[in-house]
Amino acid sequence: EPEVTQTPSHQVTQMGQEVILRCVPISNHLYFYWYRQILGQKVEFLVSFYNNEISEKSEIFDDQFSVERPDGSNFTLKIRSTKLEDSAMYFCASLGRTTSTDTQYFGPGTRLTVL
């Protein structure tokens, strides 16, 4: 069964450093998402991406964040200058079609720890 994959599974970085989180969505999917889950809190939407541009973003997704699909398969989330409060589990998701019967499929997540 096709699945969303994410790398790395765990990233540790120093405050102020740039990080890139990588996702490989399901191959025929067209819509891509990033969510995050701070420890002990609910999963929160960050950004959605379709046709090589951002469709929607939340208030969390400020100028420190960016997304791109550099090669038609990978979907990346970059945090330019990490802060302590960026420590969270980051989930990538992909969606094939925007019909009522389709579902976002999630990757296993990348745990980001900012020291």
Partner: protein
């Protein structure tokens, strides 16, 4: 706007007894509703979904949920809990169609006692 309220942050049941995880939603549209499960150190796995077809939805691992519009509820049930059901469960809502973000509840941690 959509929102989800999971009424219990923690539910504890004995193995072999029924499970009930409660969820109420608020939506301006006819919503799609989902339950996702997250096992420790694992990603989010879809348990089941409601998308305006049958109001009683059956999912994986013996779970089911009933959409009740009059009560704006989508409670998750299972007749008999198994040790492997211990996990975090998230109720999720999204508008009926379109490329829209999922809105998660805060989650309910299910503990299963032997």
């Amino acid at each position: 706007a959509q929102s989800v309220t999971q009424l219990d942050s923690h539910v504890s049941v004995s193995e072999g007894t029924p499970v009930l995880l409660r969820c109420n939603y608020s939506s301006s549209y006819s919503p799609s509703l989902f339950w996702y499960v997250q096992h420790p150190n694992k990603g989010l796995q879809l348990l089941l979904k409601y998308t305006s077809a049958a109001t009683l939805v059956k999912g994986i691992n013996g779970f089911e949920a009933e959409f009740k519009k009059s009560e704006t509820s989508f409670h998750l049930t299972k007749p008999s809990a198994h040790m492997s059901d211990a996990a975090e469960y998230f109720c999720v809502v999204t508008p009926h169609s379109g490329n829209t973000p999922l809105v998660f509840g805060k989650g309910t941690r299910l503990s299963v006692i032997a």
